[in-house]
């Protein structure tokens, strides 16, 4: 996290810590550069993308938070990146070129929350049927569904 600041101070908007876990808030435009840096920098080597999670903060703005959980296997280190997205047309660059595993994680975020990932090879629904309307995990979608 310090190295990240050294490399590009504008990439680190905020650093949060809770229960021993570090979260770095990254501005939306910087996420791809930050991802590449964290994955390839020899001193950091966050080679494993463990998870991409989305949280819906409706009705607060910015509405969506996309969280990337990274693991450095040989350094035994974890870090979380957080990107805040506005509720209207949420979209963020896909990190599949850096970590191919992001493919299905991003499809899931698209399917359940409606976040778009420009640069994703094949963005389509993954868990819900293809003709489903609506994004089920959003807070304004009822738990029982619409039928």
């Amino acid at each position: 996290m310090h190295k990240l600041k050294e490399w590009n101070a504008s990439a680190v908007a905020e650093v949060l810590e809770f229960r021993g876990e570090i979260t770095v808030v990254v501005p939306k435009e910087q996420i791809f550069a930050v991802a590449q840096y964290l994955a390839t920098e020899p001193a950091l080597r966050f080679s494993l993308l463990s998870d991409i999670t989305t949280v819906d903060n409706f009705p607060l703005e910015p509405r969506f938070e996309v969280l990337y959980h990274l693991v450095s296997i040989d350094r035994r280190d974890r870090i979380r990146l957080k990107v805040r997205l506005a509720g209207k047309d949420p979209s963020i660059a896909s990190v599949t070129p850096v970590w191919p595993t992001a493919n299905w994680h991003e499809r899931e975020s698209f399917d359940l929350f409606g976040i778009l990932f420009p640069g994703h090879p094949d963005l389509k629904r993954i868990l819900m049927p293809d003709d489903w309307e609506g994004f089920p995990l959003r807070k304004d979608y009822p738990t029982e569904g619409y039928r």
Partner: protein, 399 residues
Amino acid sequence: MSTSIETPIGTQQTMVLNMGPQHPSTHGVLRVMLELDGETVVKAESVIGYLHTGIEKSLESKTYSQGITLTDRVDYLAPLSNNLGYCLAVEKILGIEVPKRAQYIRVLLAELTRCASHLVWLGTHAIDLGAMTVFLYSFREREEILKIFEYLSGQRMMTSYFRIGGLALEPPSDWLERVQRVVDYLPAHIDEYETLLTKNKIWLARTVGVGNLSANDAIAWGCTGPLLRASGVAYDVRKAFPYSSYDEFDFNVQTQTAGDCYARYQVRVAEIRESLKIVKQAMARIPADGPFRAEIPGIIPPSREEMKASIEGLIYHFKIFTEGFTPPVGEVYQAIESPRGELGYFIRSDGSHKPYRVKMRTPSFVNLQILPELAIGRLISDVVACIGTTDIVLGEVDR
């Protein structure tokens, strides 16, 4: 459901074959679209979502304690594993300490669950490839482990035996004798399965060199668990980020280097033996008496005697069971090593008695992504071996 395989029938040399969602070898409701040139797979695409029940959404409308029963159903072959991950995540948010006795019992049960899960994997993988005897034997062994779970919690599979702060119930006084019986006879049976499979020419022909996965590919595709360890990367969450006193136990991370189905078989069988080692150590460490659950008024419900004897106990009991406890605002990610890989629970709390967001990072969902990498260029029969070797559970994939 639309896929990227849309070859019109009759115009090309290749044929599109649909495997599943109802198929004995897909280990659940998995649909794999295969484009075949003769018997060789040209393209493969997994279509999932047939078992999606919206568990993450349901967890947002239940209190933290009520959510434990939902987590059992995610990876239904290793339910105690899921319980452990969820309870650890909630305990992390709360910042509470679990008594050592409960931690050791949790370790013991988690390792027994790993044995049970690997036995199911071994049996089903073997029967997919034609070795039917192993299936019957491994399920017979698993019965004994399920009987232990039933003795402790009343349930064979969906135990929900762990609670926030420890265990649900005091274990019966002689349960360790039953565990000892399993520990005593299981290694000999594992040796028996190895005589049936490990040097069997047919088994070798069907698994050696099939589904090769290099270490770099495995990491790039996010694979964890035996998939990653069979390609030579010694990443085990129990060693890398120890939880629940795992750092006090002495065990080895099993790896192989070949990265094919046979290597994954070797890793999983070795892990069963390693788990029994941990179970023996845990049995020696569990103190004979002590609390099985933390005692924190306001968060952990008081015991029945206390609830009936004191007014504070009654009030706490009432508040906790009607409304639920409220953790501080924050978010945590707690990962454990489930039999399939890294199982992570991300919980965001907004200070109310229901979680704001629970995300389950399930290993099967991530591991299933590499199926095209493993299967393309190989024969249809190898696809069955590749699906089996990823050890997926569709409840985990779809949630």
